[in-house]
């Protein structure tokens, strides 16, 4: 079964390719998977009948008891035949239905094939959670298929409507599934149904499951999505919205009925909604002019009919139910395909415009006569056999549910009268003559548009006489209920029974209703259209839009300070209230860990305070730097050398970056908040600070668990292979976190570059310059040094007044030392302070020094690669090494430790996580290089362009003088 599902998946994946290669003929091949499913089900008939049910089960998510469990029992066997058989025929039909250049045909083919697979999974799944997955998969594919013509507004809104309604039901169903699964301890459908739970919880769960079924099978009050779904191409309507997807709800009811039909909520819900839907759908069908809509309302009606039968919960009704299910799949898909052929050949489906088709399309006319007769319940069609059984099952003696049988039977008869009338209306509409109209013009088409409906109608005719013999194939399903006093069997002739008389009555009344069709139509037009379920749906959606507009309008005023303020006020208010209501304040506090700590803290606090008072940008940058270096000192005092090292490096680099950008901005801040605003901000700031301090004090004091130091220390040495616990934590114990974080770094670097370079051609230019730098480097290497400047590679390119010999000398002296130091930090980081982050930052600082000493050309000479390459390579190395471990049977990101003895060097302790750290190292270098190249070289270039005169790049729009900023522009 898994293989069959795999074939469907494969077909769905390659379908777009096939369509591109062969056009619409690809459908001929795509019909193979569903055909194979049907053939496989046929080949398993013996096993299913003999009780040796084919089944398979592969654990998937064992922690929640979810497994890929499939099981082919009688019901699944029957539905696999229907789903696979009709699916294959509809896909064949598609090969003549669409044009080769139909827009979106590739995606359509993929979705339709995938849908056949999802349906197969749905009906054979023995795991409720997996069933739910397939269930929602069909919903999504249905959405994509209904929205096949996305340019049309009605197509889009119909697709959304179907998605919203069925997903809402699906969510209710998921809740029910989880309730059932947790109550019984298993999600296996077969196990669950063998010992069904009882009680209020089970009743609630079953009711929720039924909500899912009712919405999927378009019962009142959810029925409106199905006529809307007729925006889909007709083959989709024939398959999804007649034969397969809408049957999923019926399948679920039929599947649960043996176990749950006596649950209190079951019959009131299903019988009332089913009967109501049958009547409403039939009634609405009588006034449609679009043949496809007529059939759609007919389908709604028939789904109600089926729900009544499979929901009644007796042996006779179940037998009738499965018969009608097969009958309906055959005749309704046939009729839809006929409508598709008519539309294809005449260019309309409007029954007021069609005329004379009986003579021009004789084969389709006969086909339709057969299918419509089956729908109307005329002997010897399969539909007649089903209807006889349905009537009989509700007559006295067939064991029908007490108190329900009488009026349910009345509703079925009334519904069947309507069905007869709309079946007649269909035939009259499609193939009747309109004397006032000229006979419709008919275009020739491919053979499959006729052949497929004909085949379906042949099955419909053959099904009637064969039904009696076919009964034995479903005996395992129906025998789950006790036998009634009078046994009910399928057949064309049972003698002059009450059911036959009811059938005759149905035909007579239905014919009368058809003859009165114009009066019925006029009468329906006079009836008020409100309230309608669709109107309710639209009202609900409009209210949602309204609420979202009001909430967004009220909370999102467009001012970032205001939005942030809202968040911060919440931060103060919620914990603040708790704090004020009284919490356990610490009984004792430690003033400080050592004497230096308070001194540093005072320094930081003073710097922070003066930062808020600073009016010049550089002063604020400098003061925030003081808090940063102070923090590094606190780290060191706390016993965190790795943090201190990293913090110092980052702080230094940040200073450089700030200066690089702030040189372009005004010297003073150019926002001038009013005194009121500043006071409000100060007030909020103090409140937040107070709350955070209070939280820090109280939260720390209630902590009772000790630190994990001992366990981490053990783990670091044992499976991390290193002594520096912090570093091992980063590259091994919590490596997933680190991987996420370096991804964030990568995203930030990309953002910086795109904000500066803006356009692709700027990057291309940058790339060209890099190539030049690389070739220059080779020249220098061959000549033996740059003659122009003994200290820097590209120092001679700068104008003399901007050069500083001392800086060049120092750069020359420290750069290589820094690179070496970084390598030391990188490789010793596992056992001593250091590691990839710190090492990368050291290289970054080295590059910053090179840039500051020799500007753009020097930076290019120092690192002639695109930063993206480093970033990508780094992430790839980190993630890649993680996966390599998988290949050797370890976990992702597991470290492997090798102790090798090398001659001369001695014993080497190699841990694979060093590659992870190298990845981190490369990412950090990439980040810094990216920053220097964007905010350094990039902005240099922009400044140069401006000085050379207004170029194409640079300031896109220069506004008329902006008061505050103008005077101070270009200061540093």
């Amino acid at each position: 079964m898994l293989a069959l599902l795999g074939v469907h998946l494969l077909a769905a994946v390659v379908a777009p390719l096939l369509v591109r290669l062969w056009g619409r003929k690809a459908f001929l091949l795509l019909a193979a998977p569903p055909a194979a499913a049907a053939a496989w089900a046929l080949s398993q008939t013996g096993a299913v009948l003999g009780g040796h049910l084919p089944s398979t089960s592969v654990p998937w998510v064992p922690s929640i008891g979810m497994g890929l469990s499939f099981r082919l029992d009688t019901l699944a066997w029957l539905l696999t035949l229907v789903v696979g058989g009709v699916g294959a025929l509809v896909l064949l039909y598609c090969a003549d239905y669409f044009a080769d250049d139909e827009p979106g045909l590739a995606q359509f083919a993929s979705c339709l094939t995938g849908f056949a697979g999802a349906m197969l999974g749905l009906v054979t799944s023995d795991d409720l959670l997996v069933l739910y997955l397939f269930w929602e998969l069909t919903t999504i594919l249905s959405y994509l298929l209904i929205g096949h013509r996305p340019a049309s507004r009605s197509s889009r809104s119909a697709a959304t409507q179907a998605l919203v309604v069925t997903t809402a039901g699906g969510l209710a169903m998921l809740t029910g599934i989880v309730l059932l699964g947790e109550e019984t301890g298993t999600y296996r459908l077969s196990a669950l149904l063998a010992h069904p739970p009882t009680g209020t919880l089970a009743t609630t769960a079953v009711a929720l499951l039924l909500v899912g079924a009712v919405s999927k099978s378009a019962l009142v009050p959810f029925h409106f999505w199905l006529p809307g779904a007729m925006a889909a191409p007709t083959p989709v309507s024939a398959y999804l919205h007649a034969a397969a997807m809408v049957k999923a709800g019926i399948y679920l009811v039929a599947r649960l009925a043996p176990a749950f039909a006596d649950v209190p909520v079951w019959r009131p819900l299903l019988l009332v909604l089913g009967a109501g839907t049958m009547l409403l759908g039939g009634w609405r069908a009588l006034r449609q002019h679009d043949l496809k809509l007529l059939l759609a309302y007919g389908t709604v009606s028939q789904l109600g009919y089926l729900t009544v039968l499979v929901g009644t919960g007796t042996r006779a009704a179940a037998l009738a139910g499965v018969t009608v299910l097969v009958g309906h799949a055959l005749f309704k898909s046939c009729l839809f395909l006929v409508v598709g052929a008519i539309d294809h050949r005449c260019g309309t489906r409007d029954l007021r415009e069609l005329s004379g088709l009986r003579r021009r399309m004789p084969a389709l006319a006969v086909t339709s006569l057969v299918a419509a007769a089956s729908m109307a319940g005329i002997p010897p069609m399969l539909g007649f056999v089903g209807k006889e059984a349905a009537y009989t099952s509700l007559l006295p003696g067939a064991g029908g549910p007490a108190g329900w049988s009488g009026w349910t039977l009345a509703a079925l008869v009334a519904g069947s009268v309507l069905t007869f009338a709309y079946a007649a209306r269909f035939l009259w509409g499609a193939f009747g003559d309109r004397p006032a109209r000229e006979p419709s013009r008919v275009e020739p088409t491919g053979p499959l548009l006729v052949g497929v409906p004909v085949l379906l109608s042949v099955l419909t005719v053959a099904g009637g006489p064969a039904a009696g013999r076919g009964e034995q194939f479903v005996r395992h399903y129906v025998q789950q209920w006790p036998a009634p006093e009078q046994s009910v069997h399928l057949g064309l002739w049972h003698g002059l029974t009450p059911a036959l008389l009811l059938s005759a009555l149905t035909v007579a009344l239905g014919a009368g209703l058809f003859l009165l069709r114009s009066q019925v139509e006029r009468g329906q037009a006079l009836l008020p259209q409100r309230p309608s379920a669709e109107g309710g749906y639209r009202l609900l959606m409009r209210s949602l839009d309204r609420v979202s507009l009001e909430v967004t309008g009220a909370l999102q005023r467009g001012s970032l300070p205001l939005s942030l303020g809202l968040v911060l006020v919440t931060t103060v208010a919620v914990p603040g209230v708790v704090l004020l209501r009284g919490v356990a304040w610490p009984s004792q506090v430690r003033w400080a860990d050592n004497l230096t700590q308070p001194a540093v803290a005072v320094l930081i606090a003073a710097a922070a305070f003066f930062t808020t008072r600073a009016r010049r940008r550089l002063r604020a940058v400098f003061l925030v730097g003081v808090t940063g270096y102070g923090t590094a000192l606190l780290f060191l005092l706390h016993g965190a050398p790795d943090l201190a090292l990293t913090q110092v490096l980052v702080e230094t680099l940040s200073l450089v970056v700030f200066v690089l950008v702030v040189r372009r901005l005004s010297g003073k801040f150019n926002d001038n908040p009013s005194r009121m605003t500043r006071r409000a901000r100060a007030l909020l700031g103090i409140a937040v600070g107070a709350v955070v301090t209070a939280l820090a004090l109280t939260a720390t004091s209630v902590r009772s668990a000790g630190p994990m130091t001992a366990r981490f220390a053990e783990g670091a040495v044992e499976f991390g292979g290193g002594n520096n616990i912090v570093n091992v934590t980063l590259v091994d114990i919590r490596a997933w976190d680190t991987m996420g974080e370096i991804s964030v770094v990568l995203v930030a670097a990309t953002g910086v570059a795109s904000l500066i370079f803006l356009r692709e051609d700027n990057l291309t230019l940058s790339r060209r310059l890099l190539e030049k730098a690389r070739s220059l480097r080779r020249t220098h290497a061959s000549v033996g040094g740059n003659a122009g400047s003994p200290w820097l590679a590209e120092g001679s390119a700068m104008s003399p007044e901007r050069r500083s010999v001392i800086f060049e000398v120092v750069t020359r002296l420290v750069f290589h030392t820094m690179v070496l130091w970084s390598l030391y930090l990188l490789f010793s980081g596992h056992n001593h302070p250091g590691g990839g982050f710190a090492a990368g930052l050291v290289v970054g600082l080295g590059l910053a020094v090179r840039y500051l000493a020799g500007e753009r050309d020097e930076l290019r000479a120092a690192a002639p690669v695109m930063p993206g390459l480093l970033l990508g390579a780094g992430l790839f190395l980190s993630a890649g090494v993680g996966l390599v471990s998988l290949a050797f049977g370890g976990d992702v990101l597991q470290s492997w430790i090798f102790d090798v003895h090398l001659p001369l060097i001695g014993s080497v302790h190699l841990v694979t996580s060093v590659f992870f750290d190298i990845g981190v190292y490369l990412v950090v270098i990439g980040l810094v290089l990216d920053i220097l190249r964007s905010l350094g070289s990039g902005i240099d270039g922009l400044i140069e362009q401006e000085q050379d005169g207004p170029g194409p790049a640079g300031r896109a729009v220069r506004r008329p003088v902006h008061g505050r900023s103008r005077g101070a522009e270009g200061a540093p």
Partner: protein, 150 residues
């Protein structure tokens, strides 16, 4: 666990100054506020990790003397990400300067539009405000073959 009062107070000061600057309209000021907040948050980790100790390096000191390594690993990556954030916000400030000669965040026009719509109860953006569209024709092929047919 006994809290460290000095650090707790320092965290409060950093948060207060950070929030004050974060609420400014200048992008660079807000960034500086964010950095102060970041330093405060990192020190908060120190508060949470308990008393000071020796460096968490096995062999250098007994395990019982070590400071808690787990918060340190978390803070380390936060420090590096701060560098990325700084660069990104500065690039943003630069872009703002390029476009409008200042780094002051204006109110978002789209949000203002939505606020106005909410105030005037204007639901025209909703798909469900109008009556549903009737399908335009009763055919998937209307117009497809018209040319040949006529």
């Amino acid at each position: 666990m006994v809290p460290n009062l000095t650090l707790c107070l320092l965290v409060g000061v950093l948060f207060a100054a950070g929030v004050y600057l974060l609420l400014a309209r200048s992008i660079v000021r807000a960034l500086i506020g964010l950095l102060l907040l970041g330093n405060g948050a990192n020190i908060l980790f120190l508060v949470a990790s308990g008393p000071a100790g020796r460096a968490p390096i096995v062999g250098a000191s007994p395990v019982s003397d070590m400071s808690d390594p787990l918060p340190q690993a978390m803070v380390l990556t936060a420090i590096v990400i701060t560098l990325g954030t700084t660069a990104f916000l500065l690039a943003l400030a630069h872009r703002s300067w390029q476009l409008s000669d200042h780094d002051v965040q204006e109110d978002d026009p789209e949000d203002t539009r939505i606020t106005q719509k909410a105030e005037s109860n204007d639901l025209t953006d909703s798909d469900y405000e109008r009556e549903p569209d009737e399908p335009p024709d009763f055919s998937e092929f209307a117009g497809v073959g018209e040319g040949e047919r006529r």
